[in-house]
Amino acid sequence: MKTQGMIVKVKSNSCIVLTPEGDYREVPLLEGSRARVGQEIEIPQRKTLPYFRFLMVAASLLVVVVLAGRFFPLAPPPAAAYLTIDINPSVELGVTSSEKVISARGLNSDGEQILAKVAVRGLKLQDAVARIVSQAVTDQFLCDLDDNIILATLTVEEDQDPLVELDVVYEAIEKPVKSGGILAEIIIEPVTPKMREDATKTGLSTGKFLVLKKSGEKGVPVSADELGGSSLGNLEKANEISIIELIRGNGKDAEEKNVEAVKNAKPGKARSGIYYDGRKKAPDFEIITGGKTIKAGAEHEQDKNKSESPGKSDVKRRDNSKFVPGNNDYFSDNKNNNSDNKNKDKDNKNNNRNDNKNKDNKTNDSDKNNNNKNKNYNDRSIKDIKNNDKKDEKNYNDSNYGWNNKDKSNNVKNNHNDNNGDNNTRSKWEEKESWIRQKTESTENETGFPGTPLRWPLEFRHLNLHPSK
């Protein structure tokens, strides 16, 4: 609708018009058009929205706010789950739904100490866990003489899948422990958020609170002070209880639960934890993962069948040494030979890993002649020297050897090098890492097996020596 208007006043670049309807309006004048008072003009229709300017201001403010919120998040997203780790340092990590660690707090002085050394905020959960555990290993919170218990809890909402797969957490803990050559019991238990709240009230970590609660149910007297102060390993010793048993809710109930869990594989997933006793039950340990029970014992039997005369020492060693789940290199040769029989009890995952490792055995050698890794080799060479006498035994064992993914020939080469030249480096190194050697030697004596698993120096973790990477 076009309206006419009579100009009643002319201004510099607009004019005021009076419409027949009695409306006074200010209309912008076109450049060059001569306007006279009294002239009748057509009022151009409004092209812009009414209050367009205000809308623009509002919109731009909105944009600014939104962008600011995006780039400078004022409030971090709330943690979707909490993961606590009790080694003795107790640490709690808040995890977002995207598996990022957003908060970390030490629940005791050791925990704070560890967190001061490693920055975990913003990392993926498994990286953060791996860092903390490896820091605990370097700080000797975990050393293989102690009764090491790593108790992790992850809050899981009722009737929901855990935010982070327990397997993943397990692997993150297990990896540094294993590469540190340390025997440890690893317990990962899903708990309800309510449990965590209760634990926070008492001032304990969720894991320790869980132990407290379970022990209360069991009638084992454990005081809160006791829990808070000492590591779980000491506690176990002092009270002669098994924490794994405790948490699993030992006895018939637990077994029934397990049976049930096996029956309905998936639904059991959310509630069952991972319990792995690395110290005592090596031959017969069970991993309960998502209701699957993996029996390592079966494999041992088959091993025995396969390797006859050298197998004796093999079995012996295996029984005593650290069998770590997932580290199935141990059996790799055997398995490849008669895989039909053995794989039925095994995860696909583990199989894959085996394959990878075997591949690595072949391919990695060239990489490893790097100078940077001399230390690494030194470590091995010490063992090799000791093993020289029993070389024939070693020849077939070496490739089975869980911690050494290298060829025998390679080892020998390095061995020679060390013998010829680098006595200085070695002595240095010996000073530095003497305690490790002491330990390894001591275990050697106990077991009678020379090649006790070696510790990878932690500095080289980033080199991805682990074949699963």
Binding site: K9, P20, G22, Y24, R25, E26, V37, G38
Partner: protein, 244 residues
């Protein structure tokens, strides 16, 4: 007096040959003719004694015939222009007669060229008048502290609000007592208006300047012929136009 509005229809009817209507219309417009003539001659005239009034009335009649809507000039303004030009012609002739004793034969009505220039003159004159009128109106408004800018800001956007405010202004303009009060105090008699129109005080308060401006315009609509005839004032249905 006669309504400023809706004259165009009447004039159209008269042009179509309604003699009776013409008589009535002329009769009703006599006061207007009288006022316009008096203003031009700058003295009080008398029906039946002064030639000027007769000439003005004849010119008015002529204006009915010559009026064209498409010119954009309201009828009364046009008629006034015609009357004034005829009166000017009359005076010129009088002077000539008095001075030279000659009568000017070449009357503009018969000459096409003269007629055309006369049209142009009328148009120009109308424009000038309109401009003057608006300026006059602005001065009048400024006496009440109202400017066109204010009116732009406070003129109601909504059609219904505008209509009700215009009716209130008309009410105010037609009540002499109220209007004189406005003139004296230069502010709206809000209480009375509230009672008369039934509008809320808030609405009246908000449209205060608009009501003042419109009331002034409506009240002196004969002086602001162009503006007032340009406006399409809403006519209250129940009310006839009050005669003065």
């Amino acid at each position: 007096m006669f309504p400023v509005q809706d004259l165009d229809n009447t004039v159209k009817n008269i042009k179509q040959g309604d003699q009776l209507a013409r008589e009535d219309f002329l009769e009703s417009c006599k006061p207007f003719v009288f006022r316009a003539a008096c203003k031009f001659c700058k003295r009080v005239l008398d029906w039946g004694r002064d030639d000027e009034l007769a000439i003005a009335l004849i010119a008015f009649n002529e204006a009915i015939d010559r009026f064209r809507e498409d010119r954009g000039v309201p009828f009364l303004a046009f008629a006034r222009l015609v009357m004034i030009s005829r009166l000017k012609d009359y005076y010129r002739r009088e002077n000539r007669v008095a001075a030279a004793g000659l009568s000017l034969q070449a009357d503009s009505q018969n000459n096409l060229e003269c007629a055309r220039s006369w049209e142009a003159y009328l148009e120009e004159e109308a424009f000038r008048e309109r401009e003057e009128e608006i300026k006059e109106y602005e001065v009048l408004l400024s006496g009440y502290g109202v400017s066109f800018e204010d009116l732009v800001k406070c003129s109601p956007r909504h059609r219904d609000t505008r209509r009700s405010l215009l009716l209130a202004a008309r009410e105010l303009a037609d009540r002499n007592q109220l209007f004189s009060e406005l003139k004296a105090k230069k502010k709206l008699p809000l209480m009375e208006l509230e009672k008369l129109t039934g509008l809320s005080r808030k609405t009246l308060e908000r449209g205060r300047k608009y009501i003042i401006a419109m009331a002034l315009l409506i009240n002196s609509r004969e002086d602001y012929l162009y503006l007032s005839s340009y406006l399409k004032l809403p006519s209250p249905a129940e009310k006839g136009v009050p005669e003065k």
